[in-house]
């Protein structure tokens, strides 16, 4: 069906598909989406034309195999605008934990024929291999944020970057600080907002999936976590988790006393 609507593709790389699912979970806005764009590729939802030229590509997942590199270059060529969505696509994801270790040793300890597996030495954000026009963090992404950005791009306007800490989202929603009232370590103060304070809303601390806030005082929050009873290794794990390879968190974990993984 040929229309003059802008074309949209949703591509998957190394990931759990959670960001695609987050988009499918949108509810009503999802039904309105086909009114605005032609979704030519979105495997999780049905349309499957990965090689078609499009106006906007949303890319989920990290680049972790030689084949991924070729494919992302093809996606870039086919896309006027490329938006990487989610922790994997923007920072390498949970699987980038392997970047801190020798992944070939790991594979040898799990698989009987690791030589059959072709992987890169690191799990990379999309931006390491091609130009990315916009990054939307999160594990998974906040689909409302994605739709908002899409709306802006369709209007020819650069989306507005989120700059606050998760704490500001908590306080605007009237959520009670878990760290202050329960002594529960929370990454919120050093984590970029955008999720709508999902975890604190359920009474647990933020685990930093959006990656570092604009100002990252990792030393001070680490000291605080230790006062609250975390040992050095546990403090390190707070940074070396979902967004472990986001620049600020990576540098923070490498500078911490608990860094004994090598």
């Amino acid at each position: 069906m040929a229309t003059d609507k802008p074309k949209l593709a949703v591509h998957k790389f190394s990931s759990c598909d959670g960001c695609q699912l987050a988009l499918l979970n949108l509810g009503e806005p999802l039904l309105a989406l086909p009114g605005l764009v032609d979704i030519v590729h979105f495997a999780e939802a049905g349309p499957n034309s990965p090689d078609q030229a499009v106006d906007i590509s949303l890319v989920e997942g990290s680049v972790s195999t030689p084949e991924d590199i070729q494919r992302i270059q093809q996606v870039r060529q086919n896309s006027k605008l490329l938006v990487s969505i989610g922790a994997c696509a923007t920072s390498g994801g949970l699987q980038a934990l392997g970047n801190f270790a020798n992944r070939h040793e790991w594979m040898a300890s799990v698989y009987s024929n690791p030589e059959n597996i072709e992987v890169l030495n690191s799990s990379d954000p999309i931006s390491k291999h091609v130009k990315v026009d916009l990054q939307i963090q999160g594990c998974p992404v906040n689909s409302t944020q994605v739709i908002g950005a899409l709306r802006n791009l369709l209007s020819g306007v650069a989306p507005r970057a989120e700059v606050h800490s998760v704490c500001m989202e908590c306080k605007r929603q009237g959520l009670i600080c878990t760290m202050v009232t329960q002594g529960e370590p929370c990454m919120g103060p050093v984590t970029l907002a955008g999720c709508g304070a999902l975890c604190p809303a359920t009474g647990r601390g933020c685990y930093g999936c959006y990656g570092p806030a604009e100002q990252l005082n990792d030393r001070s929050i680490s000291d605080r976590f230790e006062q609250l009873g975390l040992d050095a290794q546990a403090v390190l794990r707070r940074f070396r988790f979902i967004a472990n390879s986001a620049a600020g968190f990576k540098a923070a974990s490498e500078g911490l006393r608990g860094d004994t993984d090598g």
Binding site: N152, S155, G156, A158, P159, R160
Partner: protein, 277 residues
């Protein structure tokens, strides 16, 4: 109670591309009565709303006597101004304003006026130069000093030439990087101040440009004996509300959007140039 947060609709009658990144929109309020009563002073600004992108502060550059329209000269520096650069005649924008305090044109009456501009996008000062040029008999000598990074950057070149031909008007141009056709000087605009022959006790100075340039100019002016309360300049900060409410534009206790954007040096001397203010 009127809602100062609420824009009014204005129509774009004309769009002029001044340079690759600078354009002027000539606007009038859709509501003719609103246009009729719209009054402003040189140096004041409006908050201009683009339907999809949002709102930014833009100086008003035409003469306050032009009652049928108002002009905004806009430089593309961010997401909203970039979106605005695509607007065309017939398109509509939202307008709140005018806001802020403009240039001290009443204080300048009968005096010589030194106008120093550094760089592009100094629409605030252009508005007052035009104001003074139209009322030459009310003011003394005018010294118009304009500096740009590259001589090709200069916009409104013919206008400077026209001004330079007027009696008792001294136009000096400077550029860091110059081409062969450049008839101004090479160097910083602040270096031009030393070449002036200012009449003692008669001169009021008005500056616009990067803060570092203005600080250098202020130092030069004070060396020449110009009193702090005769040195005026237009400040730039993150202005969102225009009414001294949202808090972003504060320098110490001053709200740039409400107490400025035009300030007298004696009002801001303590914090001007202090990092972080």
């Amino acid at each position: 109670m009127s809602d100062l947060h609420l824009p009014r609709t204005a129509v774009i009658d004309e769009r002029i591309q001044e340079s690759p990144t600078i354009f002027t929109l000539r606007l009038r309020f859709e509501d003719a009565a609103a246009q009729e009563v719209f009054e402003f002073a040189p140096g004041q600004f409006n908050m201009v709303t683009h339907f999809a992108a949002g709102e930014i502060p833009i100086s008003i550059v035409n003469d306050p006597k032009d009652s049928h329209y108002f002009d905004h000269t806009i430089r593309v520096v961010g997401r909203v101004s970039e979106a605005m650069s695509n607007l065309q005649p017939g398109d509509r924008v939202g307008i709140r304003g005018p806001f802020g305090r403009g240039w001290p044109v009443a204080d300048a009456a009968g005096r010589d006026v030194l106008l120093v501009t550094g760089g592009l996008g100094c629409a605030p000062l252009v508005s007052v130069i035009r104001f003074l040029m139209k009322r030459r008999n009310q003011f003394g000598h005018l010294h118009i000093l304009q500096g740009v990074k590259h001589s090709n950057d200069l916009i409104w070149r013919e206008q400077y030439d026209t001004w330079a031909r007027e009696p008792d008007v001294n136009v000096l141009l400077a550029a860091d990087v110059v081409t062969r056709e450049w008839h101004g000087q090479q160097g910083m605009v602040t270096e031009l101040i030393g070449q002036l022959n200012l009449r003692h006790g008669r001169t009021i100075a008005m500056l616009c440009g990067p803060e570092m340039m203005m600080l250098a100019a202020i130092a030069n002016l004070r060396d020449l004996g110009i009193a702090d309360h005769q040195i005026w300049f237009s400040m730039e900060r993150n202005m969102q509300c225009g009414i001294g409410q949202c808090g972003h534009c504060q320098i110490g206790a001053k709200y740039v959007c409400r107490d400025g954007p035009v300030f007298c040096y004696s009002e801001l001397a303590d914090l001007m140039g202090a990092k972080g203010f």
